[in-house]
């Protein structure tokens, strides 16, 4: 598989949120304000990519060599937690306004299953380092793309005439369902 195909597959066809069901807590939790969503999307792209940069060599050079691959989940979660802390420090240093907007959600990226999910998927399927990194980048981009689109729709739903029982989360789920349906139609492009 060439890298472009992997990128498009990870970003759109097998979208991490709508098709793989990863990172849903933040997907429904944060998607109410456009500004925080863009920040969240960027932070997730960075964290997913960096965690793939570290976890792939960590797995093959350390865990496989020492024959302790069974602790992969524990090792990865530690790497991710450290990375999130680092990202938090960097954002705090360079953009106070972004830090204020993301405040609560940044630590949540550590328990965002998208990050751990991508790291674990990367080692579950045999592939080269370049392929793994492309997959991680595509997943991050796909996450950001979907959560931003979804937020745009949800903001319009706020002022729409939604049945009383469907207000809030129920209609959000149905919206996500229709989005997933649309994305299923793209399955043939690669």
């Amino acid at each position: 598989m060439n890298l472009l195909a992997i990128l498009i597959s990870a970003m759109i066809v097998n979208n991490i949120v709508l098709m793989q069901f990863l990172g849903l807590c933040s997907f429904f939790g944060v998607s109410t304000k456009m500004k925080s969503v863009i920040g969240m999307g960027l932070a997730v792209i960075v964290v997913i990519f960096l965690s793939a940069v570290i976890t792939y060599p960590l797995y093959y050079l350390v865990l496989v060599k020492l024959n302790i691959t069974y602790i992969d989940t524990i090792a990865f979660i530690l790497v991710i937690a450290a990375l999130v802390q680092l990202t938090e420090l960097v954002i705090k240093r360079f953009s106070q306004s972004l830090y204020k907007a993301l405040g609560v959600y940044l630590p949540l990226i550590a328990t965002n299953c998208a990050v751990l999910g991508v790291a674990l998927t990367n080692i579950a399927t045999p592939q080269t380092y370049a392929e793994a990194l492309t997959f991680a980048l595509g997943s991050g981009l796909g996450y950001a793309f979907i959560i931003i689109t979804f937020t745009a729709i949800r903001m319009r739903l706020d002022s729409a005439n939604v049945p009383k029982a469907m207000k809030g989360l129920p209609i959000a789920f149905v919206t996500a369902s229709i989005m997933a349906l649309a994305f299923m139609g793209l399955a043939g492009i690669i």
């Binding site: 939790g29 069974y70 524990i74 530690l78 299953c113 029982a165 349906l181």
Partner: protein, 231 residues
């Protein structure tokens, strides 16, 4: 996310009135249901519920993991300094999930195949982490264990409900014994002849969102009815 933010506010009066052990056990099943009330732990609830059995297996795993993590977090709650408690919880949870994953690999390989990466992802299930942080770190071992079992059962039952609707309406039948090591195989409801009329899309990703959205809407209606009666 409004639901999630409300939780600590709601809990304050509960702690003041010293709930009985039975109340601690039952509140996790309905009143503080992980999926439908707090809307936490969504990843597994959508990903593994395409079949009834997958949902059932995941439910059992979450009950076991939650009970273990709640008990162990509660055991060490006085030893661990406040500043490093979150990394410690993460390691405890990850270790216990790894143990659980090994057991599933050994005793139910078909289930391990079906759930795939989502067994390891119990580690980052917000429900597990949320209970450790908001309940087990403040309560005795007995209470925490009961809370873990209760919340786990509530979570498992929600998964089973979603899984049942998705497989039954999506394929017209419920297959048993294929992924769980039950020792027998059976296909329920095959005599009804519903298969040609099944909504296949419910088994696929969009169906997961749709079913949860509709169940949430039904719950909202029930709540509004209840609220109207009280007022």
């Amino acid at each position: 996310m409004t639901e999630v933010k409300k939780v600590p506010v709601k809990k304050a009066p509960v702690v003041e009135t010293e709930p009985t052990l039975w109340e601690i056990f039952t509140k996790g099943i309905l009143k503080e249901n992980g999926i439908f009330v707090m809307v936490l732990g969504l990843c597994p609830s959508l990903a593994v519920t395409s079949t009834f059995e997958g949902a059932f297996g995941m439910g059992i795993l979450v009950i076991l993991v939650l009970t273990m993590t709640n008990a162990s977090v509660s055991l060490i709650r006085k030893v661990v300094p406040d500043t490093v408690r979150i990394p410690v919880y993460v390691i405890i949870i990850a270790t216990e999930v790894t143990i659980m994953k090994m057991l599933v690999d050994a005793f139910a390989p078909a289930l391990a195949q079906e759930l795939g990466v989502f067994i390891a992802l119990i580690t980052v299930n917000c429900v597990v982490f949320g209970r450790a942080e908001s309940f087990a770190s403040k309560n005795t071992v007995l209470k925490s264990t009961l809370d873990g079992i209760g919340v786990g059962i509530g979570f498992g039952l929600s998964l089973i409900l979603i899984g049942f609707f998705r497989e039954f309406l999506g394929t017209g039948t419920i297959v048993l014994g294929k992924t769980l090591p039950l020792g027998f195989e059976a296909t329920l409801f095959s005599g009804l002849g519903l298969s040609p009329y099944a909504f296949r899309v419910l088994v696929q990703p969009p169906g997961a969102f749709l079913v949860i959205g509709l169940i949430l809407a039904v719950i909202t209606v029930i709540r509004q009815k209840k609220g109207a009666k009280k007022a």
